[in-house]
Subunit: 204 residues, 2 copies
């Protein structure tokens, strides 16, 4: 029995830099996981290539896939659908390769329900770490501003509940390194490796 | 409240190369964890320095520490005691630094009982991965030799039960890299990071 790949899900609040980190990871030569390209109904922007940046579909095509249950997750933003085709993900995992998704938090929630065993990584804004400073060191901010910041921070911290790991996007380089460490560590988990050895012992 | 450091325990069957891997890790400049020096009653070998390679103690001193419960783990090999002083480990963890132990499997078992939350890493012999080949490809070995190999392998695989992670010592460089990834990933665990953020919100 072939060992299945890992499903790696990178998500986080909008604007945190998920796309930048994902592109940096896949620009590194030693990256061994496969990027699952999203599907969308929005028009290609200049320079975007079908099957590279996105799979571009019509609204009808997209809704047909929803009906057929062939999307791992999807959502509508500003009048356009975005989603992850499930076939590619399943086939790649079954072939033993790791699959990497970079999606919005709503999508991550849908994926968690279908793949609870996935590796869910939350990309956190570096502003969270500076929170304490920003809240207390200046005497100049109004209570409303401070309260607003605390509310935002509380919401972001609450979003993390779904995730296994938190990576702060302090620099793209650090974030990439941490994400790769998390994946490598997961491949060293005892249950996984021990089972591989046990399978080897079951020779004819 | 200061966040505690991680206790990292590297162990594995004797002869697997634990000492070599440990020395390689601590020769790297970016290693940020502290090595817990073992205590022993054996005589220093040429070039060994007290407080660097080991803390060298008399039998009486060592037994006094056992009685006082000041050893995290200890064992006797060929007439000499070897052990880990507990005070250093606790103080370093409390100061927020990670502590690294490199010990025998019997010792690891004792540590697991006292620090179940530690990060237990088993260094596996690369021969395990070649098992299948070694068992079946040659027609030249007697059944006794094959049986012997399978028994050894089964025992080594069983030893792994106690551990969280398995790292194969295929090359010292790979093993070091994986161990460091495991530690870095652990620092990104959601519970740990989320709590740190929540603590920050509790400002005066």
């Amino acid at each position: 029995m072939k060992e299945k790949g890992l499903l790696i899900v990178l998500s986080g609040p909008s604007g945190v830099g998920k796309g930048t980190v994902r592109k940096a990871i896949f620009s590194q030569e030693d990256t061994e996981f496969e990027y699952s390209i999203s599907m969308t109904t929005r028009k290609p922007r200049e320079g975007e290539v079908d099957g590279v940046d996105y799979f571009f579909k019509t609204r009808e095509e997209f809704e047909e896939l929803i009906t057929q249950g062939r999307l791992l997750e999807y959502a509508e933003f500003v009048g356009n659908y975005y989603g992850t085709p499930v076939d590619y993900v399943r086939e790649t995992l079954d072939s033993g390769k790791d699959v990497f998704l970079e999606i919005e938090v709503q999508g991550a929630q849908q994926v968690r329900e279908k793949f609870p065993e996935g590796l869910f990584i939350f990309l956190a804004p570096p502003s969270l770490s500076e929170l304490q400073n920003r809240l207390v060191t200046r005497g100049t901010e109004t209570n409303d501003i401070i309260k607003g910041r605390m509310d935002t921070a509380r919401k972001e911290i609450e979003m993390m509940n779904l995730y296994d790991f938190i990576v702060e996007n302090d620099t793209v380089e650090n974030a990439c390194h941490k994400i790769k460490s998390i994946v490598q560590a997961e491949h060293c988990r005892r249950e996984r490796v021990q089972q591989r050895y046990l399978n080897m012992l079951e020779v004819e």
